[in-house]
Amino acid sequence: MTPTRRKRLYLVLGILAGVAIAAVLALQAFRSNVMFFFDPTQVAEGEVQEGARFRLGGMVQEGSVQRVSGTLETRFVVTDFKHELNVTYSGVLPDLFKEGQGVVAHGRLNAGGIFVADEVLAKHDEKYMPPEVERSLKRGESRLEPAQGG
């Protein structure tokens, strides 16, 4: 490699390293803004500013969904299996909203410690399978390993 080419190669690598470091620093500084939601543990540990609007994400606890008859109000519990939080929401839920599935709710905590949501999104996980496999997994009869992932 000629010296000029080597110099230009180092220049390119230098630009790349500089931009990468700048990106890492910027993303570290804005870490909490980049996070799409807080989980119940982060809320319990006081990471959320008091009275602030934020997104709460986690799993809808099995057996926790209650619909208030005559209204659109739904109450459910969001859990990350360490902490949980009661959520109330008035409105139409997305099709994929279901117990035991992921959810992201946007709103704020009220004085009673209940999360009042004005928007609820269903968070899908990365697993796909045919209905028969899912049924046999639920019955615990399948020798197929359930796919693990976070």
């Binding site: 390119v12 993303l27 870490r31 989980d39 839920l93 997305p94 599935q101 968070k123 796909y128 496999v133």
Partner: protein
């Protein structure tokens, strides 16, 4: 290791001839594989237990997103080669990548929105994965815009190459955004350390479609790069000879 082949590809007439021979093979095999994987994905693959038929958009969305990242990486690497070794064909390849990258990124974003509305319950969320993918689109558009703003071809090559190299930092951010931060977008199903979280009868059309997209990318990239090489050397002796040969039906 001999670098002779590398230098041969740096010669515009050689590149023009070889790319012209290769391009149709990529194009036709892409078309065949797209049809086979569409049949596999839309007809043969079983429904998903949770999303039922809505999951099938994965066969368009996921390969488009993969190819958007691959196209950007190809563009940045060839722009860097062009910058360091002053190879014009490398810049022509980078130029040819940009419009393909725009279309892959737009397909990825639009199909994501169409899927997001019925499943998440929203068209758009300011989620790290979605925002970094939007940045990728801006880098492609910025590359095209910067080139067209500079009249001198050598200066346009150098300036746009620097922009392409800067933007490559965004590629790992797109890929790892769902691992590094809480996001609405799900984690990777296929590109992960574990085995894919998908049964084989759903997976094969996805992998085949990704191959089809890749072949399509090579086809469109070579066709555009050939045109770019011609445009750069217009009026030159070899261009006149090559065009005369093409007109005589000598080379496809």
């Amino acid at each position: 290791m001999s670098w002779a082949w590398f230098h041969r590809f740096g010669s515009p007439p050689y590149f023009y001839r070889v790319a012209g021979k290769l391009a149709p093979w990529f194009g036709w095999s892409a078309l065949v594989l797209v049809l086979v994987s569409l049949y596999g994905g839309l007809v043969r693959a079983p429904v998903d237990y949770y999303q039922s038929d809505a999951f099938r958009i994965i066969y368009v969305h996921v390969p488009a997103s993969w190819l958007a990242l691959m196209t950007y990486t190809t563009m940045a690497v060839s722009a860097a080669i062009g910058l360091v070794w002053r190879i014009k064909v490398a810049h022509a390849v980078a130029v040819a990548c940009a419009p393909a990258g725009v279309s892959f990124t737009v397909v990825s974003l639009v199909t994501g929105m169409i899927w997001g509305q019925p499943t998440w319950g929203t068209w758009w969320a300011w989620d790290p994965r979605i925002v970094s993918q939007l940045f990728l689109l801006f880098f492609f558009l910025g590359y095209i815009g910067l080139r067209s703003a500079i009249d001198d071809p050598d200066r346009a090559d150098r300036a746009s190459a620097v922009l392409a190299i800067v933007g490559v930092v965004n590629v790992p951010i797109v890929r790892f955004s769902v691992d590094w931060w809480n996001s609405l977008h799900q984690a990777p199903t296929v590109m992960r350390m574990d085995k894919p979280a998908m049964p084989w009868e759903m997976l094969w059309p996805l992998l085949l479609m990704a191959l089809a997209y890749t072949l399509y990318f090579f086809w469109i990239m070579l066709v555009r790069a050939r045109a770019e090489v011609l445009r750069r050397d217009r009026g030159g002796q070899w261009v006149r000879e090559a065009l005369a040969r093409d007109a005589a039906g000598g080379s496809a």
